[in-house]
């Protein structure tokens, strides 16, 4: 809270103290940003529509990344062979700068909704795969021994031992990936600049038109979306594993 006051204070100081009248358009005062960016009817409708569009893209991308990520992680957890065969490629996908493949995505999938979703999937896949796999492998040897002693099948072992043990890790991955997916949605929209107007296109438009207030409002909106997603997944994690997991309990 103190930090927030300092930040807003600093903002005002830069606007009125540092910038001269003619250069004040570079950083508009806070109340103007709120007034024009969020309270103005037309701008607000635009912003909310863009927010909704980006949220939808990020969500769909995340769901697809979860499906692919879980499947890959489960497959790799079943045999070292799969892990050695697949994991390097997951790392390659992770290491590729998203900018480098944007042209390729446009080339293959065009610039529509689908293309943005693909950006989200690519950008958010790695933390899901890596954390889920690590989680599935996190159950202690002693616990595996128990399941071996009582002749548990592969699927029983997966469902009753490996999966529950992986949950805290899965939620950590989800939290990171959800934030990345939001970034993916905005970045995709920004570069493709076609189709439904999302936060990315909103940013681009206001930047081109030098609409200082609206631009800052869009920036706040995008980080707000990222933060909300981060918090929501934190709450979900605490609900799901907080009761038993040592590290997450008492931290909510």
């Amino acid at each position: 809270m103190v930090v927030l006051v300092v930040l807003v204070g600093g903002w005002y100081y830069v606007t009125y103290g540092v910038l001269t009248e003619t250069r004040r358009f570079l950083l508009r005062p806070v109340h103007k940003v709120i007034e024009v960016g969020f309270l103005d009817g037309g701008n607000r409708t635009d912003a909310l529509e863009a927010l909704w569009s980006s949220t939808r893209v990020a969500f769909i991308g995340l769901v697809i990344a979860i499906c692919i990520g879980f499947s890959l992680a489960i497959l790799m957890s079943q045999a070292k062979f799969f892990e050695r065969a697949i994991f390097p490629y997951v790392v390659v996908v992770q290491a590729m700068p998203i900018l480098a493949i944007v042209p390729l995505i446009v080339f293959w999938f065009g610039t529509g909704q689908q293309a943005r979703v693909i950006v989200c999937v690519i950008i958010s896949l790695f933390p899901l795969v890596a954390n889920t796999l690590h989680g599935l492998q996190s159950a202690e040897q002693g616990m595996h021994d128990l399941f071996t002693l009582h002749h548990a099948s592969r699927s029983v072992r997966l469902r009753k031992l490996m999966f529950p043990a992986a949950l805290p890790f899965i939620f950590t991955g989800l939290r990171i990936s959800a934030g990345l997916s939001v970034i993916g949605a905005i970045v995709g929209d920004f570069f493709f600049a076609r189709g439904d107007i999302g936060i990315g296109q909103l940013l681009r438009r206001h930047a081109n038109q030098l609409n200082g207030e609206e631009l800052l409002a869009a920036v706040i909106l995008s980080s707000g979306l990222g933060v909300t997603v981060f918090l929501v997944f934190g709450v979900i994690r605490d609900r799901a594993v907080g009761r038993w997991h040592e590290a997450t309990s008492g931290r909510s």
Binding site: H151, K160, L161, R243, H245
Partner: protein, 258 residues
């Protein structure tokens, strides 16, 4: 999918069983000879403890008995269908409550929910954890976790019960309590017990027989019959005869310890 067999319903059938090691040898791939020529057997309703220095291969012996490890020589005669086995660590699943943890083995053996709930209730009472059914392992003390682990194995009404130094990590007072209780459980439940420890008084207090093992390679170097009647009162620990037997075991152990 293998579901395991459900428990026989005839209660007379449940508590009979024994274990025999025939010239067990174990050499690990790195060349370490952990066990050499181990032969002994465990009669019904016998409680045998193996004492030995750390690293002498005691735990390896239990892993072989349970089938988790194949010996490189010799054979084991044992019915592993409803084997009781507690590890040094309680190995409770942290996401399950006491009740859920105690039900686990029965669940893995395909026993229906109603039945296993009852079985769990019974054994939770047996180990004195009633009232803690809804607790998660993280809120239990070390001793309580071990009790929970014992209860989990007891649901199977095991004919043979392997104990791999289960009370090594708890404090002395708790350990004595757990020894009293284990010895009572042995009496009531009538399993054949094979217990591994490096605590001599623990060994003598609970067992019908104590075997002394040497290290590298692990072999049985001495055997003691423990003459005291069950149930053994806690005060037995102050009995001169008890102290003398402990001294003899200790002497044997020391001889192979340096």
């Amino acid at each position: 999918m293998y579901r395991g067999k459900s428990l026989p319903t005839d209660p007379v059938e449940t508590h009979s069983g024994s274990l025999a090691f025939e010239a067990i040898g174990m050499t690990f791939p790195d060349g370490t000879e952990a066990l050499r020529e181990i032969s002994f057997s465990l009669g019904k309703s016998e409680f045998v403890t193996v004492v030995g220095p750390s690293g002498c291969g005691k735990s390896t012996l239990l892993r072989i008995a349970s089938g988790l490890l194949e010996p490189t020589a010799g054979s084991v005669d044992i019915d592993r269908e409803r084997l009781g086995y507690v590890f040094q660590d309680a190995t409770l699943l942290p996401w399950r409550t006491v009740q859920g943890n105690v039900e686990l083995f029965a669940e893995l053996h395909g026993i229906p929910p109603d039945e296993r709930r009852l079985l769990a209730r019974e054994t939770i009472d047996l180990v004195g954890l009633q009232g803690f059914e809804g607790h998660y392992p993280k809120s239990l003390s070390g001793g309580m976790r071990m009790r929970c682990s014992l209860a989990r194995s007891l649901t199977l009404k095991p004919p043979v019960f392997l104990f791999d130094e289960p009370f090594g990590a708890v404090d002395e007072i708790t350990r004595e309590h757990l020894n009293d209780e284990t010895q009572q459980l042995f009496q009531q439940e009538g399993f054949a017990g094979l217990f591994i420890t490096h605590s001599i008084s623990e060994a003598v207090f609970m067992s019908t027989r104590v075997l002394v093992m040497s290290a590298r390679p692990g072999l049985i170097v001495a055997e003691f019959e423990v003459p005291f009647d069950y149930p053994r009162p806690p005060e037995l620990r102050f009995d001169p005869a008890f102290a003398e037997l402990c001294g003899q075991v200790s002497h044997e152990l020391r001889g192979y310890h340096s």
